[in-house]
Symmetry: C2
Subunit: 202 residues, 2 copies
C-alpha cells in the first residue's frame, strides 16, 4: 500500500492524495504537521532530507518527494498526463510555473494569513506575495479567459497542480472574482467526477 505523508491543510499535499484518488490507487494518509515541526524530526529527515511534505512511500519502501514529481509519477500512462512531446511539455511548463511563480506567493500569503496568523509581522513579505500572486493569477487568466483548461490536452495534472492553491486563494486575501476565467475554471474542475477540495480554515 502507498503511504502519503502530508498536512491536511496543504495544497501541495492535497495534490498527492488527489491524483491517487483519480487514478484509483488506494493509499494510507499519515498526517504530518509541517507548521508544527513534524517535518524537521530526524525520523522524517531520513525519509526526505529536504524536510518537506508531501512524500509518497511506495510499497517497496521507495520514497518520492516534491508534490509535482508525485503528480507526474502517478499520472504516467493515464489521461492526466499526455505522452512525451509538445503536449506533455505544456504540462511541464505549468508545473514549473506553479512552483516558481504561483505557490511561493499564493500559498505563502494563505499560510501567513490564515494558519500561522503572522501576516501583520511581515508587511514587506506580504506585499510581495500579493503583487506576485496577482501577477500569477493574471497569467492564468490570460489562458483561461479563452480556454477550458490550462493545456489543450483536456484536464491534466497541470490543472490539478494550479487548482491546489488557487481554489483557496481567498484565504490569502486574493479575490478570484477579479479573474473570471480562473473562477470559472475552478468551478469546472470542482465538478469533475472524483474531485475533492482542500480542507479550509474554520
Amino acid at each position: 500500500m502507498i503511504a502519503v505523508y502530508g498536512a491536511a491543510t496543504s495544497g501541495n499535499c492535497w495534490k498527492a492524495a488527489q491524483i491517487l484518488r483519480l487514478t484509483g490507487q488506494p493509499f494510507d494518509w499519515v498526517e504530518t504537521d509541517s507548521n508544527g515541526g513534524a517535518t524537521g524530526t530526524s525520523a522524517f529527515l531520513a525519509l526526505n532530507p529536504n524536510g518537506k511534505v508531501p512524500i509518497a512511500v511506495l510499497s517497496d519502501g521507495s520514497v518520492i518527494t516534491e508534490s509535482n514529481a508525485i503528480l507526474l509519477h502517478f499520472a504516467e500512462g493515464t489521461l492526466w498526463l499526455p505522452p512525451p512531446g509538445l503536449a506533455r511539455t505544456r504540462v511541464y511548463e505549468w508545473l514549473f510555473f506553479e512552483q516558481y511563480s504561483h505557490e511561493p506567493y499564493i500559498a505563502v500569503a494563505r499560510n501567513l494569513t490564515t494558519y500561522l496568523k503572522t501576516a501583520d509581522q511581515f508587511p514587506e513579505r506580504m506585499a510581495q506575495c500579493m503583487a506576485r500572486g496577482a501577477k500569477a493569477l493574471g497569467v492564468m487568466e490570460r489562458r483561461l479567459s479563452g480556454h477550458e483548461w490550462l493545456t489543450d490536452a483536456g484536464p491534466t495534472i497541470a490543472d490539478l497542480a494550479l487548482f491546489a492553491y488557487t481554489h483557496v486563494a481567498d484565504e490569502g486575501g486574493f479575490v478570484l472574482a477579479d479573474y473570471p476565467g480562473v473562477a470559472a475554471w475552478v468551478a469546472r474542475l470542482s465538478a469533475l467526477p472524483g474531485m475533492t477540495t482542500l480542507r479550509r480554515a474554520r
Copy 2:
C-alpha cells in the same frame, strides 16, 4: 532553426543552450537582458506572458517557457532523460527541488551580489538566501558525498539543472569547498564532453 532568448549571465538560460549543444541541435541565441528590462516589453510578453527568460522558439513558432521544461523537452529520447518510471521520477524530483529550494536562494544571492550589486540594501533577504542556499547545498552534499551523479541513471538533466547555479555559487558568497561532494561533482560534470560553463562576472 530553434531560437533561444536568454541572458548570457543567467544559469536558467544556460540550461537551454547547454541541452541543445549536448544533443546536437543547432540554435540561434537572442541576447535578452532580463535585469535591464528586456523581458517586460510588450513584444516579449507576447512570447511569454510571465515575462521571464529563457524561452525556446521552435521552427514552427511554438514557444517553450520555463528552463526545466525546456530541458525536459529537448532531452526526451536521449540519454539525458531516462524513460518514464521511477528513474525518470528521480530526475523530476531534482528539477522541482532546483526551482523551489535552490534557485530562489543561490541564484538570487548571486544576482544581488554580483550583477545588481544591491545586496547591502536587502540584508534580511540576503540572510534568507544564505541560510536556505546552504540548506540546499547540504541536501545535494548528502547525495553527492556517496554518489557520482544526482540520480542513479548517470548524468541527466537533473545534474545540468543543478549545475547551472551551483558552479557559480561563489558569486553569491557560497563556499563550495565546504561541500566536497558537490565540488567534486562540479568538476566531474565540467569535464564531460561538450560541457560549457556560465559566463562569469569580471
